[in-house]
C-alpha cells in the first residue's frame, strides 16, 4: 500500500467517525484508490536499467580494443547499435509500448555517449575532454525535445553538469556557458510539463551555483552565493502566491534557495578559512558572526516552512542545523570553553523562540476556515 493510500485510510476512518463522510462515500473513495495503479510500474524501470546496462556492455566490448576488429568494423558496430536503439524505439512507440520505447531512446543516448568516447580512443584523441561531454549532453537534449523524451532530458543533466564541473576544474573559471545549456534544459522540462525534470534542473543549478564563490572576484566570494540564496528564499516566500498562479513552484524554490544560502554560509565559515595562507585565529569573531547568521537563516527557514506547510524545506533546514552544529562542535571557537559559551547562547536563543512560539500559539484562536 502506498503511503498516500495509508494516510487516506487513516483520515477516512476519522472523518467517518466525525460524520463528515458517509459510509457510501468512504467505500467509493476506497474503491477509487484501489483501481489507481502505481505510476511507477516495475517493468519500465527494469527496461531503463536494461538499456543502460546494454550500453555499458557495448562500451566494454569495444573498449577491450579488439585488434581482431578493424576500426571500420568497430565504427559500424557502434552505429548499428545506435540506429538499432532508435529503430526499436520507433517500433515500440507504434505498438503503444511507450515506456519501453523511452528505454530504447535512453539506450540510444547511452550508446551515442559511448561512441564519442570510443572513437576518441580509437584515434587517440584528447583535445579538450569536456567538449566531448558537452556533445553528449546536446545529443541527449535534442532527443528530449524532438521525441519528446523525459528520460532523455533527465540523462542530459548528467553530462551537462559534468561538462561545467570538468571545465571549471581545468580552466578555473566560473563557466557561465553552463547557464545557456541549463536554461535550454530547464525550458525543455517546463515545456514537457515534467515536475521531476524541473527538480533536476534546480539540483543542477545548485551544483553549479554553490562552488561559484571559488571562481568569482577574489576566490572567496561565497557571501555572494549566500546572498543570492537568501534573496531568492525571501522572494519565493514573498511572491509565493504570484509564482504559484503560474506554476506551483514557490515551495520548491524556497527549499532550494535555503540550500544555496546555507551552503554559501557554510563554505564561508568552514571551508574558506582552509585556503587562507595565514593560520592565525583572527577569523574566530567571523566564525561566531557567520554561525549566528546561519542559525538565524535556518530558524527563519523553519518558521516559514511550518507556516507555509513546506515539508521539504523544513527537513532541509533540520539537516542544515544538524550539519552546522556538528561542524561547530568539531571546529571549536578557539577553546572548548568559548565553544560551550556559544552553544549556551544559541540554546537560550532557540529556547526563547520556542517559548514565544508556544505563547503565540496558545493565544491565537483556531483559524477560521474560509471557503
Amino acid at each position: 500500500m502506498s503511503w498516500y493510500r495509508h494516510r487516506v485510510e487513516r483520515d477516512l476512518a476519522r472523518w467517518q467517525t466525525a460524520g463528515w463522510v458517509s459510509e457510501a462515500g468512504a467505500s467509493a473513495i476506497r474503491a477509487e484508490l484501489a483501481t489507481r495503479r502505481s505510476a511507477l510500474g516495475v517493468a519500465p524501470i527494469f527496461a531503463m536499467l536494461g538499456a543502460v546496462l546494454f550500453g555499458c556492455a557495448v562500451m566494454s566490448f569495444v573498449a577491450a580494443h579488439w585488434t581482431a576488429m578493424s576500426k571500420l568494423a568497430r565504427l559500424a558496430l557502434l552505429l548499428a547499435c545506435l540506429w538499432g536503439c532508435y529503430g526499436a524505439a520507433f517500433s515500440l512507440f507504434r505498438r503503444q509500448l511507450s515506456a519501453f520505447a523511452q528505454a530504447a531512446v535512453l539506450g540510444g543516448i547511452a550508446l551515442y555517449g559511448a561512441s564519442i568516447m570510443l572513437i576518441a580512443q580509437m584515434y587517440h584523441m584528447e583535445g579538450n575532454p569536456p567538449d566531448a561531454v558537452l556533445m553528449w549532453a546536446l545529443g541527449a537534449l535534442l532527443a528530449a525535445v524532438l521525441v519528446p523524451s523525459r528520460p532523455a532530458l533527465a540523462a542530459s543533466f548528467v553530462p551537462g553538469v559534468a561538462w561545467a564541473v570538468w571545465e571549471r576544474a581545468l580552466a578555473g573559471v566560473a563557466h557561465w556557458e553552463f547557464l545557456a545549456l541549463w536554461a535550454a534544459a530547464a525550458i525543455a522540462a517546463a515545456w514537457l510539463g515534467w515536475r521531476p525534470g524541473l527538480h533536476l534542473a534546480a539540483i543542477s543549478l545548485v551544483i553549479w551555483l554553490v562552488p561559484l564563490g571559488f571562481f568569482l572576484l577574489d576566490h572567496h566570494a561565497h557571501w555572494i552565493i549566500a546572498a543570492i540564496g537568501a534573496l531568492t528564499a525571501v522572494g519565493a516566500a514573498a511572491a509565493g502566491p504570484a509564482i504559484d498562479r503560474r506554476i506551483a513552484a514557490s515551495a520548491a524554490l524556497f527549499a532550494y534557495a535555503i540550500v544555496v544560502a546555507f551552503a554559501g554560509l557554510y563554505l564561508l565559515a568552514f571551508v574558506d578559512p582552509l585556503f587562507e595562507r595565514a593560520t592565525d585565529k583572527s577569523w574566530t569573531p567571523q566564525l561566531v558572526l557567520l554561525s549566528f547568521l546561519t542559525l538565524v537563516l535556518l530558524l527563519a527557514a523553519m518558521l516559514w516552512a511550518v507556516t507555509s506547510n513546506n515539508r521539504g524545506a523544513l527537513w532541509l533546514a533540520y539537516g542544515g542545523f544538524a550539519l552546522e552544529v556538528f561542524s561547530l562542535y568539531v571546529k571549536t571557537f578557539g577553546t572548548l570553553l568559548n565553544t560551550s559559551l556559544f552553544f549556551f547562547i544559541a540554546a537560550l536563543m532557540v529556547s526563547v523562540l520556542a517559548w514565544t512560539a508556544y505563547q503565540l500559539h496558545r493565544r491565537s484562536p483556531p483559524a477560521e476556515i474560509t471557503a
Binding site: 580494443h65 545506435l82 532508435y86 531512446v105 568516447m117 580512443q121 587517440h124 545529443g139 535534442l142
Partner: protein
C-alpha cells in the same frame, strides 16, 4: 502511417542523423589530419598506464611537454585555452620548443613546426623566471590492446620509444604510430 507515427519516425531520424553526423565528423576530421598532416617524430618520456573509463592506455610524456615560461611571446594564454608552441628541429633530428604565442604564428621554415597546446597551470607572473609550464598537445594518450600497456611502458623507460605524429596547418596533432628503436612498430590504420 498515421501522423503521430510519421512525427515519431521523423524526430528519431533527426536525432539519429545528428548524432551520426557528430560521430562521422570526429572520424573524418581525424582521418584528414592523419592522411594529409606533416609528419614529425617526437621522443617519449613515459609516466604510467590505465584509464578507469577506457581500459588500457599508455600515458605519453614528451620533452617538449615542459616549456620554460620565458619562451612566451606576447600576452599570456588563458588557463586551458588553446595557444601555440613553435618547435625547432635540432641537428640530431629531434625537436625543441622555440617560442609560445597566443595567436597562430606564421612559421614557413621547414625546420620549424607549430603545435596547438593547452595548459591548466596558472601562468607565473614574471616572464623572466626559469619556471616551466607543463603543456598538453592532445597526443599524450595512446590506447593499446589489453596487456600491451606495460610492455610499451617498459620500452619507453629504456628511452627507445617515440611517436610518429601528423600535424596539420592549424597546429592540430595526431598520433600516427609508435616508433620503437627507430623503427615504426605500431602503425595506426586509418580505418
Amino acid at each position: 502511417m498515421t501522423a503521430t507515427a510519421a512525427r515519431i519516425i521523423l524526430s528519431l531520424a533527426i536525432v539519429g542523423l545528428t548524432e551520426t553526423a557528430v560521430l562521422a565528423y570526429m572520424v573524418i576530421d581525424r582521418v584528414r589530419l592523419l592522411s594529409s598532416g606533416r609528419e614529425i617524430t617526437l621522443p617519449v618520456v613515459p609516466v604510467d598506464p590505465r584509464d578507469l573509463f577506457r581500459r588500457e592506455y599508455a600515458r605519453l610524456s614528451y620533452e617538449v611537454g615542459t616549456v620554460p615560461v620565458r619562451l612566451l611571446e606576447g600576452p599570456r594564454p588563458r588557463t586551458n585555452a588553446a595557444f601555440y608552441v613553435v618547435l625547432q628541429k635540432t641537428p640530431d633530428g629531434s625537436w625543441q620548443a622555440a617560442k609560445m604565442t597566443r595567436a597562430f604564428p606564421r612559421e614557413p621554415s621547414p625546420d620549424r613546426i607549430v603545435l596547438k597546446a593547452r595548459t591548466t597551470y596558472a601562468w607565473p607572473g614574471s616572464g623572466s623566471s626559469e619556471t616551466a609550464v607543463r603543456l598538453r598537445y592532445g597526443i599524450e594518450s595512446y590506447f593499446v590492446p589489453e596487456g600491451e600497456g606495460r610492455k610499451l611502458e617498459a620500452l619507453a623507460r629504456e628511452k627507445k620509444l617515440a611517436t610518429l605524429l601528423a600535424v596539420d596547418g592549424e597546429g592540430n596533432a595526431a598520433i600516427k604510430g609508435l616508433v620503437v628503436d627507430g623503427a615504426l612498430q605500431y602503425e595506426e590504420p586509418l580505418f
